[in-house]
Amino acid sequence: MTEYSLYLGCVIPTLYPHVERAVRDVLSSSEVRPAEMASVSCCAPNYMFGLSRQSWLALNKRNLGLATGTILTACDECFASLQDARQAISEGGKGMPEVKPFLVFLSDQQETLKKEARSLGLRCAIQHSCHLLRPSKVRMVDNPDNPVLMKKALEVVGCTSVPHEEEMSCCGGQASGKLNPGKELAAKKIASARGAGADCIVTTCAHCLNHLTQNSPQFPVLHVAQLYALSLGSGPSSVGVPNRLVRKGASQQ
């Protein structure tokens, strides 16, 4: 069986500890017991390593060196940063640990997890993270024009993917500036999801989660791990799922 090390990054442990609880609860229902990476540092993602490639590389060389087996990430920005770093350190990532995003892990564990999963009955608008899908020839996770992994993952926990106009657009999390286009992109995304009749937005990326949450005080935005943990028996409050959402899902079954 593949050995894993769990890399949680910065955003989830510090801003969204309920998501970390959810990730850990899902892992405990899977066949995998990943090693902790307690002394890792920030993966120094794009908005930082854009300013200093050397620092980004130095930090991630250390991070990659702390892994046992494959690194499992719960944030797609961490996934992209670590994956790029392993390629930069060694041609083709030779001798470096593999890096696997949480969504692919869910897909791998689908048969095990669905034995225990109960249906949640929610209608979900998917936020496909740019970092997970693009550049597709590097990431090699899913079809960037017609991604299916997240839709299949939602089916396992009895949720429906609701197509919406802005499904394939960026959340806007890295689009800053005087005119604040990031806020505008997030508002469009949220309006699109609501307009399509979704109960919530679901993503796999901590930065998408953070950006959309900040711009969506009322409409729920969740990490896919939260839905999985809920489906596998975690309490809604421990994994940060609003009770009203749980009730809504139950009423739609």
Binding site: C10, S41, L57, S176
Partner: protein, 84 residues
């Protein structure tokens, strides 16, 4: 210095001390964004492990960044591990 600039940019509306704290978290420990006291309580309530790094890990991260040439920030924000 570059990292500090990025941190300043993303926390432009925050007080200097907050920016400094965040910079220390990002560079020295990689634990960004959150004032520690309430986080510690939340994490304990969720039965999650502590996110404090030991001094040796902090020293390793600092050494890696120093080696890459980012000396200024280390000088400005160093101060041991992030006590949570």
């Amino acid at each position: 210095m570059e990292v500090m600039l990025a941190v300043r940019s993303s926390l432009a509306d925050k007080a200097p001390e907050d920016r400094k704290m965040m910079a220390r978290n990002v560079v020295n420990t990689g634990r960004a964004f959150t004032p520690a006291s309430e986080l510690k309580d939340i994490r304990a309530g969720l039965n999650l492990p502590n996110v404090t790094l030991d001094d040796e890990s902090v020293a390793q991260v600092k050494a890696a960044v120093e080696k890459a040439g980012l000396l200024s920030i280390i000088g400005e924000v160093s101060g041991g591990s992030d006590k949570r």
